[in-house]
Each structure stands twice: as C-alpha cells, then as structure tokens.
Symmetry: C2
Subunit: 401 residues, 2 copies
C-alpha cells in the first residue's frame, strides 16, 4: 500500500535536486558530469583539517555530552557567537534568544512556511528566485507571486502594487545579496524601503542570506534586518556556502516570542539539531581562520566566475545577455528569444554537461530562454574547457531550429 | 511583531522537553537535579572513542566529500547496511530503497504526520503512550484515540472496536517493544493480529522501535513489520538509545513508492541529513563492537532497573503498582487512587528530583495517579539514594491530604 494524501501527492522531486540525482546516477556508472547545475560550494576548500581537530577537541572537553540529547533552541555558545557574527551585516539589536539554530537554512524556510502560510496565503518573491524555497512555500499552500527585478534588485514600485493587490501576503521572500539565480544585490535604499512597505502593509520579510559573505569586492552590505525597526524582518542565515553544507547548520533570527513558537515547532518536528555540527560551526567561526578561509574561497570563485564570463562571451550565441555577479555562486544567462533551455537540457546532458533551465526559477512561466550557471563547483580549467562546448551545443541547437 | 497562525499558536512546549528545559535552567545555576524524567540514555556509555576514530577515518577516506551536499534519501552504504540490521527483528523482505534516513526518529514521525494526517483524521495509540509522538500527531491535525493495554500490549478487541467506530484512521501508532511509558511488549500473536486488522480496516500501522534492542533477556522479538504481508506497516528505527541521540539518526521503512514521496517531502523540509552522522552510525554498526556495547548498556540498565524496583517497593506507599519492564528505559508506576502526580510535581522538583506525571501520556485524561520513571540516566548509587527520598515525599504528600 502506498501512502497517499492531497499534501503528499502534490509533491514532485525538487527541480534542482532532480538534476543532481541524475548526475549522481551517472557518477555511479562511472561517468562524470561537468555540473554547472547544483549550488555546490567547492569541496576542495572545506576546512577538513580544522574540523578534524575540532571533533577531537569536542570529545576531549565534553565526552559523551557532545552527543547527548540537547536543547531544541540550539547550542547556546553558538547562538551567542552568532550575535557577534551578525554584526558583519550591521545587525546589532539582537541577543541569543532571538536565534534558533536549524538543520540548515532550508529547514528554517520550511518552519516559516508551516508557521506563516495559511489557506489563501500569498508569498511574494523575486522573479526569478530560488526554486528550493518556492517549492517549499508551495508545498505548504502558498500562491507564489513574483516581482520583477532590475540591477538594484526587487523593484519597489512593483512590490507595492502587489502588496496593494493581495491582502493575505504571508511574507515577502528575498535573497538580497548575490541573489539566486541572478547574482544581483538589492540597493541600500531599497533595503530601507522594503522594511517600510512591510510595516505599512502589515506583513513580514524573510531575508535569506546564504551568499552575503561571498563578496568579490570584500564589501559586505547591511542586511535588510539591520534596518528593521518594527520586527518585520526574519533573517535566515547559513554556513553551507562559507564552511560546508553537509554540516546542515542554519539559523533564524526573529523576535523572542516568534522564536519561542518556532522552538515548539522544532520539538514536534525533530527535537534538535545534530550536536557535533553545532559545535563544529561554533569552534570554526570562533577559533579558526574563518576570514582568511573566506578570502581563499571568494578569490577562487571570483577567478572561476571571470573564466565563465569570458567563456560565455566568446562562445554563446550573439545576443546572449549575462548579469555580471558581484559575488555568490551563480550567473544568470539569457539567450536570445526563441531558445528553450528546458528543451535543450537532455541533449546537453547526454554530452555530460548540466545547467539549470531558467524556467525553474520563474513563478510566472518566464525564463524559457535563460539558464543558471554555477561557477563555484567546477575548477577554472574545467570551466575553460566545458563552457565552449556548451556554447557550441547551444549554437548548433540554434541552427537546427 | 510576533508571527502568528492557527497552527503555530496552538503549539505549546512539549511536556517532557518542558521539564528537561527546567532541569537545564537549574543546572545553569549550579543545581543538579536527579532526573527520572527525560528519556536520556546514559552518556557514560556513548562510544566516544570509536566515533572519534570514525571521524578521522571518514576524513582520511573522503576528505571534503564527507561534508558536501548529498542525497535526500540518505547515505547509501548506511541504507544498505540497515537492510542487514533489520534482520535482527526478522524483517527480511526489504531493500535499501525501502529506507529513508531521517534526522532522528522524531522527524520520521513528523513526516508521517504531515503525509498521512488530513482534516478529521484519527490516530489510534496505546493508552498511555509517548507524548512526543502524540504532540506531533496533534500538531498536524489528528484526533488522538487511545486503546487500553494489558500485559500483552494493546488490546486487540478494543482496537477493533475503534477501527469499526472511526472511518478516517490515518494510522495506528504502536511502540511494540518495551513501550514508552509502560515498558510492556506486544505479544507475537497480537503482532500478527494487528497487521490483519490494519488490512481489514484499510489503514496503516506506524511501528516505533527505539527500545527493541535494550532487552534484558537478550531476546529480540520479531517486529510487527516482519508479519506485514500487505505493506501496511511503516517501521520507524533509531540509534538514539543504542548509540547516541545527539547524532540524530533515524530511519523509516515503507514500500518504495511511499519512500519516494517522503523523499520529496524531505527535499522541501531540510534537504538531507547531516552527512557525518550517517557515516558515524554506518561505521559504528558495521566496524565496531556494537553487540558487545549493547550488552554493556543493557546490563547496566538492567541493574539500574532492579535498583529502582527495589527502591520503589521499599519506599512508595502501600498499594503502589509497578509494571516490571523487560527492557527499555522506563518504568510505569501507579500510586494508589487519590494521588495527583502532576500536582505533586513542583514540590518534588523543589527538592531537585524529577519524574514525568502520568497524565502527560494519557490521551483520555487518565494517569493522574501514575508516573513514568526513567532508569537509564541516573547511576545505581543515585537511584538507591534518590528513590527513597522520592518515596518519602510521596508518602508525606498522602498524609497532608
């Protein structure tokens, strides 16, 4: 007997995880795909030796306590350290009770979905936006409405129109820094504006900040949360892109009472986060050379990004537009009108190259001629070799049409 | 602004985690509570040195891959090993695709709740049963209906009556081995019967098996799942009580298509389980002295249980009944009629002893004169010292009335 319910039966594989699962299948049969698809940080930079030392230190100091049941709200030293950490984004007006540790940022988004989305709720998102978030909002019952972006991020006039049109907006979801998939960042002016709009229209902002520290210029922008005078901004943090994703550590920041409610949800859902991972992140941020590590990673991603830009410019069809990213992991490429990147996908994948079709990111059915390319996962040499092959396949596809 | 919704606002702290949070608060101010409350396995037995070695081995062999993004269905070598592991319970007719790795068994119960409970659903449980599960079923919208137990576990005649009475039974939840809180086990005959009843009444059984290997006699009973001819039994496994709970590793076993649906849910909810923890459990079960470890733990818990039985018999009021456990972590104590263990709790807690009031386990408002005592957490000496103090307080309470 197969389990069944309206909720379960509406779920499909997540679009991007669907692709990465295919890549894993090929790998099992010995075929390596050059993946520009997933959002994988580069594992060669993961601080394995530091974490190895931290593991030993944890057991030396705490013994079995490090793997005993623990509090649902998180490991207090980590929560307290994150209060300091958030000053990097100019978020200063918080204490550790404003922070819930989650098993990765995705879990925080799922908790907010369960907590805030009700029958008839709308969630406003950037168009395009991260499908892993949109899938979760949809699964928990939201209608997704996209706001167009320009070079300064989400357009505030378009946002205000939507806030006037819909009266049950559960929250506005934004990736303000080096957005997924476009690589764009929201201007400081708009960060202030969006907070005022949320207050005026009585809704919340969920600010997702996984890429903020992967800044090519080194400049870190003030979070929207730093302009939050009304408790309207819920911040979602992560170390998946800056330390390692397999640790599954994220955090939510909100007012204390909201965090308390989310802790009760955590008690229902999985009791607590893995103890050792919380300690690994705490000690790594506090005791190791995190800033130096960040510079190494960011510099490498910058070089990979430059190699990708050069490759796309040299080999993709005339009329292709790219958004040059200031940081993060992704580049958004728009092919000329008439291309269908979803249709092309299988053919390209047969040649063992993968990207994510643009339509996966667009809540309005757009993005047909766009694709997201990840530049963090493959090394420069691979990028220099594979991007021209991808470009050639795209050009051939054009000729066949 | 505090976030708010019907769903969120209905949540309260989980009853047992509420008590353990109080105990943690006291510990912060330097006061150690003798806790017979939580379900903590004894951390002195956690295989810290083995896990330390495994951590190093993982990094030696895999480097950064061990903390990279990974599959949502779990670490395949662990899934494959669990196929072998389940033979301990005579579950033989499965392959690794029937297994989803979860961040602890609680997460599996939450997934099943989200997937199977719909508006108007009933979940049938043993009365009394584990409140952490009942709270989750309730949070996701189920009405909880309890079935009385006798020495052979859930009464099948009473179960059948309920299955006839309610037509929207999402599932029957049972802890068949060394049940929480009663320590009772379901007889083999009833295990066969319950499968037939689930088939006849078109519902599922969720079999929760965290305590099964903590068997004082060493005998491991066949799981209900081993009698499942119809795919009606979803098995929930855990190593929290046999290795360590802070690793947060559990698993669900169901037919392949059901597992696929649950994997899609996992993609929405938190992407994947912590990689290292999956590897720790895999290597510990496969490469270390798990059976020897299990014997050490079980023997120690047996001695603690005996000390507790002796203490309760010697010091609790006349007319007190205990269920002598054959294994597991808990003893169920019924004081004579008229006692109110919830009312007594604060007074006892002031003297720095904690238990869980029986009413927390009872879906029908019963259990007022009962309490659950955990015998795994405190050592023999502490049990011998503290149980008579608890007994004396109870007797004094009787005199005051």
């Amino acid at each position: 007997m197969v389990i069944s319910s309206e909720f379960l039966d509406a779920l499909a594989p997540s679009s991007i995880r669907g692709i990465t699962a295919k890549i894993r299948e090929k790998a099992k049969s010995g075929v390596q795909v050059v993946s520009f698809a997933g959002g994988l940080p580069s594992k060669e930079f993961f601080p394995v030796e530091d974490i190895r030392k931290i593991n030993n230190q944890i057991f030396d100091e705490e013994g079995g306590e490090a793997i005993q049941y623990a509090a649902s709200d998180g490991y207090d030293p980590l929560r307290q350290y994150l209060v300091e950490f958030m000053k990097r984004y100019q978020v200063t007006d918080i204490n550790y009770k404003n922070i819930l540790i989650t098993s990765g940022a995705q879990q925080g988004l799922a908790y907010l979905s369960k907590g805030l989305i009700q029958k008839g709720s709308v969630v406003i998102v950037e168009n395009p936006s991260y499908p892993g978030a949109l899938d979760t909002f949809r699964a928990y019952g939201a209608e997704i409405v996209g706001v167009d972006m320009d070079d300064d991020g989400m357009r505030m006039d378009a946002l205000e129109e939507l806030l006037q049109k819909y009266d049950k907006v559960a929250f506005i979801y934004t990736i303000a820094d080096f957005q997924n998939p476009t690589g764009r960042s929201m201007s400081v002016g708009r960060r202030k504006q969006i907070v005022e709009l949320a207050e005026k229209h009585d809704t919340f902002i969920v600010e997702d900040g996984p890429y903020s520290l992967i800044s090519f210029s080194g400049e870190i922008m003030p979070a929207i949360k730093s302009f939050d005078r009304y408790g309207r901004v819920i911040y979602s943090g992560s170390t998946s892109k800056t330390i390692a994703p397999g640790l599954r550590i994220g955090w939510l920041i909100a007012d204390e009472e909201s965090i308390t409610k989310l802790v009760y949800l955590k008690m229902r859902d999985d009791l607590q986060v893995n103890n050792m991972a919380q300690r690994q992140v705490y000690h790594y941020l506090k005791d190791c050379e995190f800033d130096e590590h960040l510079k190494t990673v960011t510099d490498a991603y910058y070089r990979r990004c430059q190699a990708m830009i050069a490759g796309v410019r040299a080999s993709f069809p005339q009329g292709t537009k790219i958004v040059v990213p200031g940081g993060g992991l992704f580049m958004w490429v728009e092919l000329p009108e008439g291309f269908d990147t979803l249709e092309m996908f299988d053919e390209v994948f047969q040649k063992n190259i993968a990207y994510v079709p643009g339509t996966f990111f667009c809540s309005d059915g757009g993005g047909k001629n766009a694709m997201r390319l990840n530049f963090s996962s493959a090394d420069e040499e691979t990028i220099k070799r594979a991007i021209p092959i991808l470009g050639e396949m795209i050009c051939q596809y054009q000729q066949k049409k």
